[in-house]
Symmetry: C2
Subunit: 295 residues, 2 copies
DNA sequence: GCTGGTTATGCTCTCATTGAGCATAATGGA
DNA sequence: TCCATTATGCTCAATGAGAGCATAACCAGC
């Protein structure tokens, strides 16, 4: 027989003040997790109920990420059994009243946030360290260039996990097996939890392009500019404003509420609402969100 | 404590004679599976070794699909524990010498193979049955149209799982909870294994578009036409020949071997080989494969 | 050797999408 | 009233994808 403990791990993501946030425990060192007890018909459903019970958040989109096994187990009957299976999920939500435990996602991946100026400098430092690690190995050099957009290559925001793994291999992370002389800044998590985080961000960035899941992160009504800022927060880079509007409006994803939001300066912006919740279906399969190639 | 049995399930896929094949057991009614015993550092690695040991296939690309829980367990301590966790993987391979157990994938999903003429008729029958199920429910009608390309909507080959689930819900499959008067033809599998198959095909069709995994299904050298036929086999529909060539050649995915293959008729075709195996990296991240919108 | 059938390969044309920027509209404050 | 600021509308060029014509290179038969 083969007895194994199993655990659900949740990566809950919200966006506030143009920054993606993740729900953490233990001073940002851990992710919400629990034993796989209340599994209902499906894991998905069990996960949703469990999370909504634990945190008071209502979960919009929910998605299984990956299943990891930890082989820390001692030999049992001559075979190395994994002792713990971790099934990770990503969930999107709006920030409730309890702001406790939410941390900026980019605290864990500073290099993934390319919206501000400071990004360039960190980028250069990482590039230097990577090239040193790669040495003359052509495959390594090529990989560095592709994942980090070094050699004139374009930056691909979806390669979050690739970048994390590359940094890990290069010994540039505190959790790396062997350390390089210089380490990339960024908040850590024990075990492979930062890897799970990276998986979640990669998946979210990929998903946001071809399924309208951003709206799960938005309030009921919003301006197109707010929508764009939310997408930018997740994509980690700026988008072209006029083209963003064009793409959104061309797809009938949203409809005007008829009202407008007047901010401190400038012309008031029209308010919109997501049509997917109005129509029966939240998926709207044909529709893609922007971030074509951005800047 | 929480003791659970766990199982690995493998969906092994190969392509032969322009048809995708899947490795099955038990007269095509089952998929290779086994307890999660020999897990090494990672599940992935354990899976690969286990599969390669069981079947004599060398696995190219391998990918985790999904983790299911079966909640058939009786109450233990007042809580409904899932008893079995199934972690499913998809692997790509070339057909070895042992052809035993390989079945045509489209025997399980006849409606997904849209390369021949007969597809139209089956399509019409399914369409009729679906519309009957949908009745006047707008959300249902919309969903049917989107997933099966009914109302002038384009056919989206990646929606394999959506279509399977829709057919299931509509009571058109033998494994459905309630049966409609007419059932869609197609080979069955007990439990949720046909669903796992559908997941694999959906994933493969999606992946083949933006990562050069087709080459894992190809022999060492091949003509562009053979390559196209393999892609078509997986995508389930025909592609435009000249455009396929253009796309492949434009991306430096392949290089000429210098030789040509002369078939029975016509001008001999040049032989190519995949560059990814020559260069260190098998991923070639920037590169997309065809099937843009096809015919 | 020449001819027609057949398949491979090269090239063009058009249309849709995307990246980028200019121009105008509508607000508040000086 | 004028100006700074933001929202919105529109144009233009570059690129990529769908479709089809034209040519090349082989075979079999005469």
């Amino acid at each position: 027989m083969n007895h194994i403990r199993s655990e659900l791990v949740a990566v809950l993501i919200a966006v506030q003040d143009e920054m993606p946030l993740v729900l953490t425990l233990d001073q940002g060192r851990n992710l919400p997790s629990g034993p796989l007890e209340t599994a209902h018909r499906s894991l998905q459903r069990g996960m949703r109920l469990w999370i909504e019970q634990q945190t008071q958040c209502h979960l919009g989109h929910i998605e299984q990420l990956y299943t990891f096994a930890e082989a820390t187990g001692a030999d049992i009957g001559g075979r190395d059994h994994p002792r713990l299976i971790r099934i990770s999920y990503m969930g999107l939500t709006r920030l409730g009243e309890t702001q406790e435990g939410w941390r900026g996602l980019y605290e864990y991946f500073p290099w993934e946030n390319r919206r501000e100026q400071g990004a360039d400098q960190l980028d250069a430092e990482i590039g230097r360290a990577l090239l040193q690690w790669a040495g003359r190995d052509a495959a390594r050099l090529w990989r560095c260039a592709e994942t980090f957009g070094l050699d004139g290559q374009p930056w691909n925001d979806e390669l979050v996990l690739h970048r994390y793994e590359l940094l890990w291999e290069a010994g540039l992370l505190p959790e790396s097996r062997h350390h390089a002389p210089w380490l990339v800044p960024g908040r850590c998590m024990p075990s492979d939890r930062r890897r799970i985080l990276a998986t979640a961000l990669a998946r979210l960035r990929a998903k946001i392009r071809y399924r309208p899941v951003v709206f799960e992160l938005m309030p009921e009504t919003f301006t197109l500019w707010q929508l764009q800022r939310t997408v930018e927060a997740i994509a980690g880079r700026p988008l072209h404003k006029q083209n963003f509007r064009r793409l959104i409006l061309a797809q009938d994803l949203v409809e005007e509420t008829g009202e407008a939001e007047t901010q401190l300066q400038g012309r008031p912006a029209r308010l919109y609402r997501f049509r997917g919740t109005v129509i029966g279906t939240r998926h709207l399969m044909g529709s893609k969100l922007p971030i074509a190639r951005s800047i």
